[in-house]
């Protein structure tokens, strides 16, 4: 069955149709959120929230066949909002200590090393993670080393295959900036993962 049929089932009162959509997309949603947040627990919460929000708004979905892409945009928006909130929560108690960094124009792009990330990512050394770890873990560790905008642009454009214009709207920057972030992000990833590629 297609997504559109399951969506139709749900809109006809059969909640079981939604479980099929959940089973189909839960992994992708979880991975997208994890790539953006770098933390499994947060990604799980966001994924659950995203599915519930999707259920509540299902009757507003104009093209039921495009459920997957629509859901991923919900996951993305929730993840980015969560990340922004987390950054604010982190910034408040450290206001004084971070004042110098915040003065820098590049401060917003600095990676949040060691905050809200899994232990693997917190090592700060992707090459270490490669030892005995899956390539996916190494990739995530490397992603966590990237400036935030670069990571977000890479995940949305490359992983989610979101059009650049849409990435630009989501991140609140120009299309050229998205291209630049993707280019720079991949260049850095290449350096960080040179031993594994």
């Amino acid at each position: 069955m297609e997504d559109s049929e399951w969506v139709a089932d749900v809109l006809n009162g059969q909640q079981a149709g939604f479980e099929k959509l959940v089973r189909k997309y839960q992994r992708q949603a979880l991975v997208v959120s994890y790539r953006l947040l770098g933390n499994h627990e947060d990604a799980r919460d966001i994924t659950q929230d995203a599915f519930v929000k999707a259920y509540r708004s299902l009757d507003t979905l104009e093209r039921p066949a495009a459920f997957g892409g629509w859901l991923m945009r919900i996951v993305t928006n929730l993840s980015l909002n969560y990340r922004r909130g987390r950054r604010l929560r982190m910034a408040q108690p450290m206001e004084g200590a971070m004042a110098d960094q915040l003065g820098s124009p590049m401060a917003a792009d600095r990676p949040m090393r060691g905050h809200g990330s899994d232990s693997l990512a917190q090592s700060g050394r992707p090459e270490r993670a490669v030892e005995g770890k899956e390539l996916g873990d190494a990739l995530q560790a490397a992603l966590n080393q990237l400036p935030e905008k670069q990571r977000q642009a890479l995940v949305l454009f490359t992983m989610q295959e979101m059009p650049q214009k849409e990435v630009a709207q989501t991140l609140g920057c120009s299309v050229e900036a998205v291209k630049w972030h993707v280019f720079q992000g991949r260049k850095k990833l290449r350096e960080l993962l040179k031993d594994t590629m």
């Binding site: 009162g13 059969q14 089973r23 295959e161 650049q164 991949r186």
Partner: protein
């Protein structure tokens, strides 16, 4: 080099002016790998790739990294149960009864229990009365036997009830409703098992506020008939 990903919509490329020539070329190679390089530049960059091993390596690296990012890592996590538990708390689409129930869950469940208790009391009293009447009748009419339970046809919305209802089957079958009959002799019992919202509607005090209008008894069972519905409160083996 002619096979580029087709899923990205190509945007016109504006190369940052401050980039040195070599970096511009690398930037364009990345665009080529993504399939977003503007058409006029494609042939030139592809030609450069053919003659430059370092650029080819860069192109391949971009492709590999994109592939790695797109590849979903194995995750042995099943969130479906947790998600569906939350979803089931939400009102179902297209179900006004469930929606109403969802809107006032606590109140609705206690109302349901009250209605059920009320109805059980009424039917138990009616059944006791009917059984008493039946016993008296059986004592008076000893020797006469009925093949089934004769009831008066009852109109209920669009359903047409059978003129004769035949009760068969072992054990206690509680709370069934005769809905229709399509057999020639009208002796077929089509019963609807009552549950959930249907039960709530059945036991609605507004509908069942009067005492049963008539009742008959067969064996240990009692049939309670009102102007709105026909209930079998208990059925024993014939």
């Amino acid at each position: 080099m002619s096979q580029h990903p087709q899923h990205f919509q190509a945007d016109s490329l504006e190369v940052p002016a401050h980039l040195p020539a070599r970096q511009r070329l690398e930037w364009e190679v990345a665009q080529l790998a993504d399939g977003t390089l503007a058409a006029p530049r494609r042939k030139a960059v592809e030609a450069a790739l053919l003659s430059d091993a370092e650029l080819r390596s860069s192109y391949e690296a971009h492709r590999r990294l994109s592939g790695m990012l797109r590849k979903l890592p194995p995750m042995d996590v099943d969130l479906a149960g947790e998600i569906m538990r939350s979803v089931r708390l939400e009102p179902a689409y297209g179900d006004p009864v469930a929606t109403a129930a969802g809107a006032s869950q606590g109140g609705a469940s206690s109302l349901l229990e009250l209605a059920r208790d009320w109805w059980l009391t009424v039917t138990a009293a009616a059944a006791a009365l009917v059984v008493g009447v039946g016993l008296g009748s059986a004592l008076f009419n000893a020797g006469e036997s009925e093949p089934g339970i004769a009831v008066t046809p009852v109109e209920h919305d669009d359903s047409q009830f059978a003129s004769t209802m035949r009760v068969a089957g072992p054990g206690e079958i509680l709370r069934q409703q005769q809905a229709s009959s399509d057999s020639a002799d009208g002796r077929r019992l089509l019963a609807i098992t009552v549950s959930g919202p249907e039960f709530l509607r059945w036991a609605d005090p507004e509908l069942n506020s009067s005492l049963p209008e008539s009742a008959v008894v067969f064996g240990g069972s009692a049939v309670v008939e009102t102007s709105r519905e026909l209930l079998i409160t208990g059925v024993a083996s014939p």
